[in-house]
């Protein structure tokens, strides 16, 4: 792989991404603990990347390193092909996992303050603060103190703070945690808009159903290493297993295909995990010989199973 600029989607299928964020070979130790162990992360312009991994995998550490908040022991972080500069960093919109706002500042004032620190003019920051307060659904609470807001609403402010200067790189550490469905929908829309506008967005999350719907591209890490990269459907397709699901019309036969594992299922339904190398046409023909079915499906496992497979391996 070329230094920090190339990402391997699957063997023999390489695309060059020179625009956007590229973190390569990141390593970081905390005493004896290896938090990052050669981790790679690429987020192209106009790309929405879901950053997944079990607890302690190194997601937050990676994001902090991108922001320059954590000193790395090794690795390179570049933006648009050049090493990330102080100016690049100031432009990043960041939502930390441990949310942080001044409890005794007013909503509008707080958003504007961070806007000014990010380089906006006084008037510009005030305008944008009003705009984003409105956008995250707090237009009528601009003059309330942060500490008077509910946790979820504080999180909306946190989002506005990350967006106020309309950054070209958004780094969101578990942005969906604690949001109600309305806010989840709002955040999803905002993220999609930013990406459509050419920004790079990376977010971590443990809500895989959300990630599956939202992200163009996933990077799954564990133990400080990048395990796989690719779109949801690619990762699912690359799974070594498939799920065969049969809804019987009539009595459920005791039949099971070769090399299959029977999974828990409601009465009248059989679900098997079979190797991806299985011949689907033959499996369907076999099932048809054993009984009549109302429906049958043969597909790669969902993202959650893929995640567990990757993390366990």
């Amino acid at each position: 792989m070329q230094r920090g600029c190339t990402v391997s989607i699957s063997p023999g299928d390489e695309i060059l991404i020179s625009d956007g964020l590229s973190a390569h070979g990141l390593s970081k130790r905390f005493g004896d603990l290896v938090a990052l162990d050669g981790l790679d992360l690429t987020v192209g312009r106009g790309q929405l990347v879901g950053f997944l991994g079990p607890n302690g995998a190194g997601k937050t550490t990676t994001m902090r390193a991108i922001l320059g908040l954590t000193a790395l022991d090794g690795g390179t972080i570049s933006w648009d092909g050049a090493p990330m500069s102080v100016e690049n960093r100031r432009d990043i919109g960041y939502m930390p996992q441990d949310r942080g706002l001044y409890p005794r500042m007013r909503v509008g004032e707080h958003i504007a303050y961070i806007g000014r620190l990010a380089g906006l003019s006084r008037e510009g920051a005030a305008d944008k603060a009003r705009h984003w307060a409105e956008r995250v659904g707090l237009g009528d609470r601009e003059n309330d103190l942060i500490q008077e807001l509910s946790t979820g609403n504080q999180q909306r402010v946190q989002l506005a703070v990350a967006l106020v200067h309309e950054p070209t790189l958004l780094v969101l550490d578990e942005p969906f945690a604690g949001l109600d469905p309305v806010a989840v929908a709002m955040l999803s829309t905002v993220m999609a808009e930013r990406v459509a506008g050419g920004a790079s967005v990376v977010f971590s999350s443990h809500q895989l159903d959300l990630v599956q719907d939202l992200a163009d591209e996933l990077t799954i890490v564990s133990d400080g290493k990048t395990r796989v990269t690719g779109s949801t459907s690619e990762l699912r397709r690359r799974s070594p297993t498939r799920l065969l699901r049969i809804e019987w019309d009539g009595p459920e036969p005791s039949w099971a295909p070769e090399n299959a594992t029977r999974l828990d299922a409601p009465p009248g339904v059989s679900v098997f995990r079979v190797p991806a190398s299985s011949d689907s046409a033959r499996l369907i023909a076999e099932a048809a010989r054993e009984g009549t079915f109302a429906s049958i499906s043969y597909e790669p496992p969902g993202l959650e199973d893929v995640f567990l497979e990757i993390v366990a391996s």
Partner: protein
């Protein structure tokens, strides 16, 4: 926007959010009220002509004509009441002395009876009266009339002329004492505000957002600047109130020498504020919970205490002992001692220059050291960072972060 602007942004936020708190408004209002009420009350206090009330007991044998002489000698400085004691027992009169009903008893012959100790000013007047009586009696032997004797004894008015009016005038000493108190208290108050503000940013996690956009040094400088300006603002408001009240009540005429003294006081105070605000910010970066504040504050309060105690000695006693001279050059103590030594005229110009330069240098070194530690510890949470580790950060190779 560039670096200095960001420092001002941070300073402005710090100023605004603190100035807005009820506690700050209440303290400022109190200070202004005290500044205005103090001189006004003093000016409006019913003037008692300075006359002191005394009761003089006259024992049986005492010459009643003494009364007139005593009143004449007291020249209105005393408001004298005479209590004839004829017929009262000794125990009774002594009880009256003990209780303070009577200040002194004039007994015959030429004896003054006091309770536990002699009251010198009163004794001087009574003594003079007794002498005068005796002289009248003796004068008769020389055919001198009472009037002749009085003529002879007419006191000469003696004028006091003080050559060095500037040296340690009471007014300047009073300001020095106020300065000592301010130099002791204000850095602590605003230092604590700085510390609380640093720890709040860590404990709320907002520091992570801030440091995404600005350098830790910018954050530190802005904070120290903001809180120093806030302190100066509060002091100016207090002084404006005091000045207005004194001017309105005509309480003082400020002598020229004050104006040469004020800059030293101001520079000392500002230097002290910057020094201690930075120091407290550094302390704040070592801990992540307000509860741990007391652990780290103690070593800072110690020099303040030393300065305060030594400062009081310098106001009351000699201001140029070796210890005081040496301590004047110790930066955290300079702001408290230097103004006093200037007020007492017990300092050489080179000492003033050297002490202030050292203070400025130390503040600068302090800001640099604190910024280094700040950089390494701001995202640190949990237990407090040891001094040893902090020192390691100060010496760490630049750019290793």
């Amino acid at each position: 926007m560039n670096g200095p602007n960001l420092v001002f942004e941070v300073a402005y936020r710090e100023l605004r959010t603190h100035a807005r708190t009820t506690a700050f408004k209440a303290i400022t209002a109190f200070l202004v009220a005290a500044a205005i009420v103090g001189p006004v009350v003093v000016a409006l206090w019913p003037d008692e002509d300075g006359a002191r009330q005394v009761s003089i007991g006259l024992a049986d044998g005492a010459d009643r004509s003494l009364e007139e002489t005593i009143v004449a000698l007291a020249q209105g400085g005393l408001d004298v009441e005479f209590v004839p004691l004829s017929g009262r027992s000794q125990a009774d009169t002594e009880a009256a002395l003990a209780s303070g009903d009577i200040d002194v008893i004039v007994d015959a012959p030429d004896t003054l009876v006091w309770d536990s100790q002699v009251d010198a000013p009163l004794a001087a007047i009574l003594g003079a009266a007794l002498q005068q009586r005796a002289l009248l009696v003796r004068g008769e032997a020389y055919d001198l009339s009472e009037n002749d004797v009085r003529q002879l004894l007419t006191p000469v008015d003696i004028a006091d002329r003080i050559v060095d009016m500037t040296e340690s005038s009471d007014f300047i000493l009073a300001i020095a004492a106020l300065g000592l108190f301010a130099g002791f208290l204000i850095p602590q108050v605003f230092g604590q505000l700085t510390l609380v503000s640093v720890v709040e940013e860590k404990s709320t996690g907002v520091v992570e957002v801030l440091l995404g956009h600005i350098h830790p040094r910018t954050l530190l400088l802005g904070k120290v600047l903001g809180l120093t300006l806030l302190a100066i603002g509060q002091i100016l408001v207090f002084l404006a109130g005091l000045g207005a009240a004194m001017f309105a009540t005509d309480s003082i005429d400020v002598s020229g020498s004050v104006w040469s003294f004020v800059p030293v006081l101001a520079v000392s105070l500002i230097g002290g504020l910057v020094f201690f605000n930075t120091l407290f910010a550094l302390l704040g970066s070592l801990i992540s919970r307000q509860e741990d504040a007391s652990q780290v504050i103690l070593p800072v309060v110690a020099p303040l205490m030393v300065g305060f105690i030594v400062g009081q000695l310098a106001i009351g006693g000699r201001a140029d002992t070796t210890i005081i001279r040496v301590l004047t050059f110790v930066p955290p103590i300079t702001p408290m001692l230097l103004p006093i030594r200037v007020a007492r005229d017990a300092v050489a110009p080179w000492e003033v220059a050297a002490a202030l330069s050292l203070l400025v240098l130390a503040s600068w070194a302090m800001i640099r050291a604190a910024a280094r530690v700040y950089e390494f510890t701001l995202l640190h949470s949990g237990s407090r960072v040891s001094w040893k580790k902090a020192w390691g950060f100060v010496r760490a190779r630049p750019g290793s972060e």
